[in-house]
Symmetry: C2
Subunit: 312 residues, 2 copies
């Protein structure tokens, strides 16, 4: 049974790790958001791809969920001492990834080839594919102007009031090799508990992806990143509020509209379940907070069992 997961940052990486524990590597493909990618200090940085890869490789920082475990910060401390920008935290190990990715991109390799090579080195066995090898850049439209995602997310710490989003480059971005093929042979597609607006929507907006999801006709399920009206991490709940939508599991289910077959909510959101069912979705209610590796695996197993038993 082939599983495809669409993933963004830390929440997506956690469920991906659970899936990697419970699905054979040859049967698992993780398609990762690249709308967060940006250039900083001449380095081409792919935060979501790195978070997923580091997590699957077991080298992610367990405290933050992003960056590397046992990281050191010597380069950044010199950079800051010399007057360089301090807002984007670049660890010494992490910098090795960015330098080598940038070198390979400049030499003409594609992001998906590079990701495959890095995964091989790190012993990551499932396929991890960036949504596109073409540049897509998420812009956050705010009351303080249009901000590139990392500017909004890291530099401004999500403070500006959000009024919308746009994905620069999305009109011409093609799915990376393997993206459409993996969806076409998927027996189940899982939308990870990532930010719907800025992690999953960019993937769904890449030309052909929505169409092939429909065409494939296998169940598509989403795991809610909103639990008890709050995001486990990141600005998803704040974004819903600022866009005039009370943040809830139901709001997430509604967000994905008729794309979904089923929906996974936390037990804490039992009161949402009925209204989500009324959207025509089948429901799995379970514990969805993934603190430990065991919790990730247990959730992934439940999600896969639930999803594969759905009839689309």
């Amino acid at each position: 049974m082939n599983i495809v997961a669409l993933a963004g940052g830390v929440g997506g990486a956690k469920l991906s790790e659970g899936l990697a524990q419970s699905v054979k590597p040859d049967n698992l493909t993780i398609i990762v958001n690249t709308g967060d990618d940006f250039e900083h200090l001449g380095l081409k940085i792919s935060p979501d791809v790195d978070t997923v890869c580091y997590t699957l490789a077991g080298i992610a920082d367990p405290e933050t969920g992003w960056g590397r475990a046992g990281e050191t910060w010597n380069t950044l401390s010199v950079l800051i001492e010399l007057g360089g920008p301090d807002w984007f935290r670049l660890g010494d190990h992490d910098l090795g990834t960015h330098l080598e990715r940038t070198r390979r991109l400049d030499a003409g390799e594609s992001l998906s080839q590079i990701t495959q090579t890095f995964c091989h080195v790190w012993g990551v066995k499932p396929s991890v594919i960036p949504m596109s090898d073409d540049p897509v850049s998420t812009q956050v439209i705010t009351d303080e102007g249009i901000l590139p995602f990392q500017e909004y997310f890291v530099h401004r710490q999500c403070q500006p009031h959000v009024t919308g989003f746009s994905f620069t480059g999305i009109d011409v971005a093609r799915p990376a090799p393997g993206v459409l093929e993996s969806i076409l042979r998927a027996d189940l597609v899982v939308l990870c508990p990532s930010n719907p607006w800025v992690s999953i929507d960019p993937i769904l907006a890449v030309s052909g992806i929505r169409e092939i999801l429909k065409e494939n006709n296998s169940p598509i399920i989403a795991v809610s990143p909103i639990i008890g009206g709050k995001a486990v991490k990141g600005p998803a709940a704040k974004m819903y509020t600022e866009l005039g939508i009370p943040p809830s599991a139901r709001a997430v289910a509604q967000h994905y509209g008729n794309l979904l077959t089923g929906f996974v909510v936390d037990r804490i959101d039992a009161d949402n379940a009925l209204t989500i069912q009324q959207l025509g979705l089948q429901i799995l209610m379970t514990d969805t907070i993934m603190t430990t590796s065991g919790e990730r695996r247990r959730l992934a197993e439940e999600v896969v069992e639930f999803g594969l038993n759905l009839i689309n």
Copy 2:
């Protein structure tokens, strides 16, 4: 009394440190070779400028003479693990310097402005000026083709047989702001014990520098980097041999020709002294190996006293 030193790599940095201990900062200008500068992994690297600055700041690695003390190598180890080039040793702290220099150069600052800023941060008080803000790239002509300097020096470890040198960009490179002015008001110019071919010659080849050295009419002295027929560090002796010139203090004196007023040789080269005098040069014979900070200071004091007492 104003002193100007022309300096290249480790030997130049050591005597510069001695001069910084014995001359008031306002009276000392160090003009540094930039022919070794190159781009690697998208970073603009100025090895000689960094070696001089790190040494003057007291943050250089005392073992190697280049790079930083207490350095860590986490970025490089990840880069190599991922298949990146391993031949140029980039430490984590050092990388902070290169990233911030590259960022500032890309933003339009000049290398000399950047060097001034970095020196201020590091508490380096004498003026350190790169020979030029325009790119000059030393090429080593060898029996295996023309190699950019770092390719010859670091990657090929000086193994190819040298037949000559060229300095790409030298025809249009202008002296950096302050270079000609400092020479014009110098009471003494010191050519540090740096490689004559690839550290001092590029500086002397920058348009206007030789002319202003003549025009200034103050004593110009050189400290021999060849001691007992060998270079203290680096390929200077090997280069002389391959170019058909037996390496010796005398060969260095002859190399600089009629530019010099005086010459500093090691006691070990007492047998060279007479033949150097026969070139029309006044001689200071002393201990020139600079292992300790105290030795650097003592040599610098002797060099300055000797030089200022010469009549050109």
